[in-house]
Symmetry: C2
Subunit: 256 residues, 2 copies
């Protein structure tokens, strides 16, 4: 049974303000909630349909703050999805990791003002696939705990550290430590031709504006994904930023 | 000024039924509408704010069936976007091209039951970037004229022929013509290692179910995108289908 106050609370988690106030975010769906039960994250509340709860083991039940059985009609009132799943978990937002030094022996990703929740979620999923453990977002990027981001990560959020930071300082740290900072540009060097290192930072830019001019200055290696055929007029074409990130990460990993 | 009947009509274009009835689809935004004005597509109606119409040249005006000036409040009533743009065009759905033989001298894409509009739009954009002119969707895929698909193609729809067809027959045509049919599988051959041809069909599967078992039989080359590091437990990770398509297309084009 879902009270009006609870409906209001769950809906408040769909926006930044509500999440900041409560320190929690929402996750929907069997697979993702099961993955969270296997992780170090804390589920403060869980709302599920009867048949889902019947399958939940005792040890998992003990990990959850509060369990509420709800029906499919109630699920629709709080779900973010057109076709709601069987379960919604309210999860405590983990404290940011204050070990601020990026890993000098691996690749990391930096994202400049990514706005689309699906793009951020998809990029985090790509990072997890390619063993990129750290993703740095500019402070004005979409919030990683936005429910649309969370859903599109498909649990990859559990494998990747996502931090919000001043990218300019981050890039300067790489330069100071003699590590390359890659950035994608229309007129960059063909990524398939140039040297790529297995350590450093890869910077991807905003959906419509690309990399901001301030950050461009700190890019040490300008790369580009060539279109095909090379002679083709590319006035209309552009790549989605999550697709471009996937191609870039795959190419870095192919070389190593 | 936007009549109630027009608001109803424009909103009907958001679903399949309304588009089938009218034979039209909707496009929003300066850049995409400008690209359509440069294309062979026919704009039957155009709804725009005053300042946008003032910039529209006479020759462009003559290409448009009917022009209606609306204000930003009216735009919000019919837009599909959270932040509506300055212009919405109603565009005639082009007749499907009945030249059914796929190109034997190029790569084409086949999409098995892609359901997410953003994924289909992003894949069409990737296809345009990599000079893949033909994308074949299974009949039960999301409709390419769904406004969310249209918006996420970012005009690439104008460069790629998207057809809905029986993929099984299509794949048999490739086999009969001794052309390879590539399909992505978890346990396929590492795409970075095997031979890749510059002609053939690349089949990508549904977001959660992958390639359907019926179609699997007609795949002649099973490929996979390796995750990193290879030793890592990949239970949680998977790639978004649009990201996977981007990586696969990039690798085919890198080799040629």
């Amino acid at each position: 049974m879902l009270s009006k106050a609870k409906i209001k609370y769950l809906n408040s988690l769909k926006n930044n303000k509500g999440r900041t106030k409560s320190g929690c975010f929402m996750v929907e769906g069997d697979k993702m909630v099961e993955d969270i039960l296997q992780s170090n994250l804390i589920i403060t509340e869980l709302y599920a349909q009867n048949h889902w709860l019947e399958e939940l083991g005792v040890s998992d039940k003990n990990k959850i703050g509060r369990i509420v059985e709800i029906n499919s009609g109630e699920m629709k009132k709080v779900s973010n999805l057109i076709s709601p799943h069987n379960v919604i978990a309210v999860v405590k937002i983990p404290e940011p990791d204050h070990d601020t030094n990026p890993p000098a022996n691996n690749l990391s990703l930096a994202l400049d003002r990514i706005q689309d929740p699906g793009n951020l979620g998809t990029i985090i999923r790509t990072a997890a696939w390619f063993g990129i453990e750290n993703v740095y977002c500019s402070n004005d990027s979409v919030d990683v705990y936005n429910p649309k981001v969370v859903q599109s990560t498909m649990s990859a959020l559990l494998k990747v550290n996502v931090r919000y930071t001043d990218l300019s300082s981050l890039m300067k740290w790489y330069i100071k430590n003699s590590l390359p900072v890659y950035g994608t540009f229309i007129n960059g060097e063909d990524i398939f031709m140039g040297d790529l290192h297995s350590e450093g930072l890869i910077l991807m830019g905003n959906e419509s504006g690309g990399i901001s001019s301030l950050l461009q200055e700190s890019v040490t290696h300008r790369i580009a994904i060539p279109h095909y055929p090379a002679s083709q007029d590319s006035r209309i074409e552009s790549l989605n930023v999550a697709s471009a990130t996937a191609i870039v990460c795959a190419e870095f990993r192919r070389r190593t």
